[in-house]
Symmetry: C2
Subunit: 510 residues, 2 copies
Amino acid sequence: MTRNNAHTGAPLQPALRAKRLGLYAQHQPVVIMRTDCHVCRAEGLSSRSQVLVSAGGRQVQAALFQVQGDALLAINEAALSETAWQALGVAEGDMIHVSHAPAIESLASVRHRIYGHRLDARAFADIVGDVAAGRYTDVHLAAFLTASAALPLDEDETVDLTAAMIDIGDRLRWDAPCVVDKHCVGGLPGNRTTPIIVAIVAANGLVMPKTSSRAITSPAGTADTMETLAPVDLDMATLKRVVEQEGGCVAWGGAVHLSPADDKFVRIERELDIDTEGQLIASVLSKKIAAGSTHVVIDIPVGPTAKVRNAETAERLAERMRSVAARFNLTARCLLTDGAQPVGRGVGPALEAFDVLAVLRNASDAPDDLRRRSVVLAGAALEIGGKAKTGQGAALALETLANGQAWSKFEAICEAQGGMRTPPVAAHVQPLIAPRAGHIVHIDNRKLARLAKLAGAPDAKAAGVLMNVRIGDEVGRGEPLIHLHAETGGELNYALDYAERNPDIVSLTP
Amino acid sequence: MTRNNAHTGAPLQPALRAKRLGLYAQHQPVVIMRTDCHVCRAEGLSSRSQVLVSAGGRQVQAALFQVQGDALLAINEAALSETAWQALGVAEGDMIHVSHAPAIESLASVRHRIYGHRLDARAFADIVGDVAAGRYTDVHLAAFLTASAALPLDEDETVDLTAAMIDIGDRLRWDAPCVVDKHCVGGLPGNRTTPIIVAIVAANGLVMPKTSSRAITSPAGTADTMETLAPVDLDMATLKRVVEQEGGCVAWGGAVHLSPADDKFVRIERELDIDTEGQLIASVLSKKIAAGSTHVVIDIPVGPTAKVRNAETAERLAERMRSVAARFNLTARCLLTDGAQPVGRGVGPALEAFDVLAVLRNASDAPDDLRRRSVVLAGAALEIGGKAKTGQGAALALETLANGQAWSKFEAICEAQGGMRTPPVAAHVQPLIAPRAGHIVHIDNRKLARLAKLAGAPDAKAAGVLMNVRIGDEVGRGEPLIHLHAETGGELNYALDYAERNPDIVSLTP
């Protein structure tokens, strides 16, 4: 169709001035425009949920919110959430353009999968590409993940998804024939074996460039704990230098972009509280492969309040994990471990760091469970890395701890990462005591994690929970079960209130 | 566990002053708090996506956003989006409490369904109850709907879901043995038969209390069109009075709360662009049953750019629709109709109203397709309502139009609803002309709807598109295909730009 009038016809390019509100809309890029804004009306944006915001050659897809009146925005302004602000890299008052978000072609594949059809490598690549670019809304992500749970990904699909997740991100390459990694599937409070394993493995001459996450819903991530001991916010050049010099590092993974779609999937899986085997495998393996690993040891804690609840599920997961890893020339060894209770004594960044230090320094009061787990996992890494014969890795690992080589290596790694630090201690410490004598029969991992978070972990580095008991221990009336550590009195009181309302965090025999 | 200190222990009840921003965060209840707010830290809310906001005995579950600095909020303030503001019914400065959102028990059933287990009536009732109460996030809704698509709802599940959706809302009751309704599955631009059918059916003495929706993504809903002819925003008492007096009404359904979970489901289905049979049936039938209907005529347009794309799908949908309806003692008659192109000439509230008026007034230029469709559907209603023998309903409907009874009834209904109005006409009208001679071979319903929206419909009541041609018509070069109607020059230009970039809205033979 053509018009019958002479229309000069340069496409209208309505622009607005960017305004920063300092708004954290969770993960979401958001643009806020006035209801009476000429761009909203002219572009027909009002009823749209997703729009495309452009500035200076960069683009971000954002949720459109509107605001009535001039209290927040002048008529020629649009506000951006921090996520959108940073994605666009704008400055206050820069001109931004807002238009309809383009159609997302890969959603056709998601619908196809919902209706029971399997997807090929091309489809997964397109989906993961759109996810990593931020084009999928939470609704789209939830639909894709649900479809992958309702009809579980088969092995080929898991391989294709893993490959797609690797290809969309950065990839590390190492000048070594054997690069070792470790991963723990699912959260067990205090299970902070990583710094110990890296020290043992690197002390034995293997390469272990470990990147770890910060806590998202837990009281501490490995990066949070390690940060109380040394800087973890390493850029790619520093990370490479540390690993080339010391053979290992414990860095925060956020500074490098390995498998960038994964965080988006994980956030939604957490909200739905669903764990699907295929997604889990793709999530774990894509990060390891992108990090350049050739060998990986996988810790699968099994327990009633752990992520994997029984041995049968764990065995099946391990089998599929090994077989998918093999398709990428990655050797995976999976270890099923006890997931019944927290590991070590501390739960919270600094408190866990003290446990790590005690094990590395061979302190007489070092938590034995943390030492044993670290030794078993490091032993497996030494075996698959060719530094010990099968069955002899744990002994070598224990020896590396006992003779102080692991501690020396750990000190060297911390120095290389920017200098060793002393973890902070809490200003407020308060015991929770046994209301009567008895044996400890159960510890609720999830409630314990919540308690540590109410005390301030992980933002307050010194905060958390110190366990005085383990399952099977006998306690007398009035003896401490737990010590709460907090940086402020208010946070201590919140944790105390929660403990009072939840007497089953640590259960005694009746 | 107990504490060893004397703690006075009244649970802390931190309160903040409510601030209104006039923020429309789409449908979402949102609360914005400062990152340095004592409540966020004390309650451990920072990493939470969903919180519970309470004020004066009312509660709403809201997404938590945070803001840095004091530009937006004082330290003792929290801002609410309009949805949250209205749900709580607060005034500026009222004290509000924010705490953790409670766990949603029914999500266990959603996970159960994802993993392939069918649900019972109790589970559907719990899910729908939580959905209607606003406890489900978009992610939860998407997971439930995707699970119901991946393993389609069987007939028992569809019945249970329908029953749950009815039970959670209001229910109308009528003092008549036969209450008729109609529904059209899926949008065909301009398919505005409802006001004509209500007039014909009510003129024949049947009761037809019609509630209709406003447009959400389309250029006009029946309520938008009817509003240019009479008030539609009727409260329950007025609606009952109109129906008791005239036998029928055409009111906006938003004022009554029939099947309140449905809107939430529909919004997510639209975002995913999935239509599942079970959800569709529960959506349609729950509203009809809640409205007190005993008989319903269902229009299922079938066409390549319509919601239902082929006759086989339509037949299966019709069969299941009838059979589920029967379980609620509702008689459903489904009619498969031509969904290849728009109905009538106008697309947009007022332009469609002129088509409706032309048919009701027997105008010589009344669009014949709209008349024929209305007569067929009204005829079916007259037959199932016992006013005509099978096969004779259409003739009676046509006669009711021809003898002016339908028009009189329509005028009476408009008067009873608050007084008949004259639809507005657009200030700017511009033709789009054929670039060459040829036959019309295709009309893209979706792009046509988009064009009408860019011209301003449905907010600008007079705006939209007037079709000058239908499929099969022959046109000469320079003859008008479409007239664009707009209230402002800016909107007209936007529609013209879109038309120029999309020459395939109306396709000619090459």
